[in-house]
Symmetry: C2
Subunit: 307 residues, 2 copies
């Protein structure tokens, strides 16, 4: 099961963090953006090529230090099909650098449509007699509001292709309480979702005891991390909300099991936009990103020892 692969990479790099690739055009250093605007004008094409160069540069800077990257589909979709072409190239590039790729797509649909999404992101698409990998990430994020119909086709591809997925349980944003914290009998909605995730993923455990179906639990809710870590002992956690959203190393320690396993913490803007704080106009974006990622790794190391 693919969380084994991720856990092995985390262990090798002694770093349970994932770098988000969520670049709006404004996050791209001016010298990169200018190059493509000079070539193509102020077009989506220029923006897509600029984001591609920026993300590749980030990958080059981080590849020996972080185990995984998490491109966020929204920032590529906003550049149209050219953005999706860039996303395709970025996933392939990250994999060529031996990084684990989590496609943050938060898809959720049913039956044949869920199967189509799974073919797009994890599996393969059949054309005549030929099977084509499409975006071919190692892992995706999913939304389970529609129930197991939305998840099962992905579980099949997880098994067939040794991949994995995270389903939203308790998200890091302020308004997550509006639905997720509603009381449902002796549970809350996010606990119900967590229990469903553990149930849906049963029979897919890997060598570290974690199933191929993980959960998203925000860094901004340390007590929830503690509660769900105890309750969902076979569920790997993706923990967003570190840094910019207010999650701390002290908080995210509760996402890990007693062997320092079973979770990965995401940071996006604090790494990507680190260059905006050094006063060098982005010329040092790689060094700045690397320094921010090292800082985050070292902060978490104070609380978590990976065995």
């Amino acid at each position: 099961m693919s969380f084994d692969v991720l856990q092995d990479k985390i262990k090798a790099k002694r770093n349970p963090t994932v770098a988000g690739l969520d670049a709006r055009v404004e996050y791209v250093p001016p010298f990169i953006l200018k190059k493509y605007i000079d070539l193509h004008g102020q077009t989506l094409e220029a923006a897509a090529e600029a984001v591609l160069e920026f993300d590749k540069g980030l990958i080059d800077a981080l590849a020996d230090m972080v185990p995984a990257v998490k491109p966020q589909s929204a920032y590529f979709e906003m550049l149209g099909w050219r953005g999706m072409k860039a996303l395709d190239e970025i996933i392939a590039y990250a994999k060529s650098k031996d990084l684990f790729v989590i496609a943050d797509v938060k898809r959720g649909d049913i039956g044949t449509t869920a199967a189509a999404y799974s073919e797009a992101w994890l599996g393969t698409t059949q054309v005549g007699g030929v099977s084509h990998p499409v975006f071919d990430a190692d892992c995706v994020t999913l939304n389970g509001y529609m129930g197991s119909d939305a998840v099962k086709p992905f579980l099949k591809d997880c098994t067939d292709w040794d991949k994995c997925a995270f389903v939203l349980a308790k998200t890091s944003n302020p308004s997550s309480m509006e639905l997720q914290d509603i009381v449902a009998g002796d549970r809350l909605v996010y606990t119900v979702m967590g229990d469903l995730i553990q149930r849906w993923g049963k029979d897919t455990q890997g060598k570290y005891g974690y199933q191929a179906l993980g959960a998203v639990v925000g860094a901004t809710h340390p007590s929830v991390l503690k509660e769900l870590r105890r309750r969902l002992d076979r569920v790997f956690f993706l923990v967003p909300g570190y840094g910019a959203q207010g999650g701390t190393a002290a908080a995210v320690q509760y996402a890990f099991d007693e062997l320092g396993r079973g979770a990965i913490v995401n940071a996006s803007r604090s790494i990507m936009c680190a260059w905006q704080k050094t006063g060098k106009n982005g010329e040092d974006y790689q060094e700045a990103a690397r320094a921010a990622a090292e800082k985050m790794r070292d902060e978490i190391k104070q609380y978590v020892t990976i065995l």
Copy 2:
């Protein structure tokens, strides 16, 4: 508000139905697929061009009779960026034929990411000093599990660009009960979501009394349609699950208000794949789709009169 535009088109064509464009490669008539495989081999490129021709042919066949089409993103994503390019062209083509376009993307994310999705599907992306419409649909589907943070950026674009959105409430699939039917105090989770949708959308009412934020409620639950129609009197409904999934005209009548307004019913496979039942190997796919769409319209007409 954009549901006014949709309601006007429904009224003009006396037809409260939307044709789903959800084409897997296998749904494309063989003579179309063969043409592109001969050109490009058994590739994603061939598949994307074949789906594009098929969908355009369906649009040509249906444009004077249905008010709206609903391309489903999954079936384009499974063809990679070439599929997204085809989706882009299909949305523009449908709009050029004066059809209302609902991009069925079921996106759900927070803050700046939700804003990026909204720019992608409803609004515009800024590159330097230039604003670019991207996929530029009239309407999208959303997933509200993350709360208002996932919806507000879309509401802003709905107001700025006269567009609208549907949020999942009670979906048509069997496993929708796993989370959506959980008891939460004196409500069920889908009722909680429905109430949130009505609340989030307040202050966006159009001339027919409907807000810019609608709800997805499946045709397979007539009693839920009846209950939510009463409860959410300002919420326009998108009703999937007609035909193949078991929803009937007798069931979907409850989605409409007493003036026959406030809802649109989707059918996808029964229209797209109608050619598979006529024994003509797809040569008649346009006539078959049109006949299926007419049948659906006339079935619903027996129960719903649009004033």
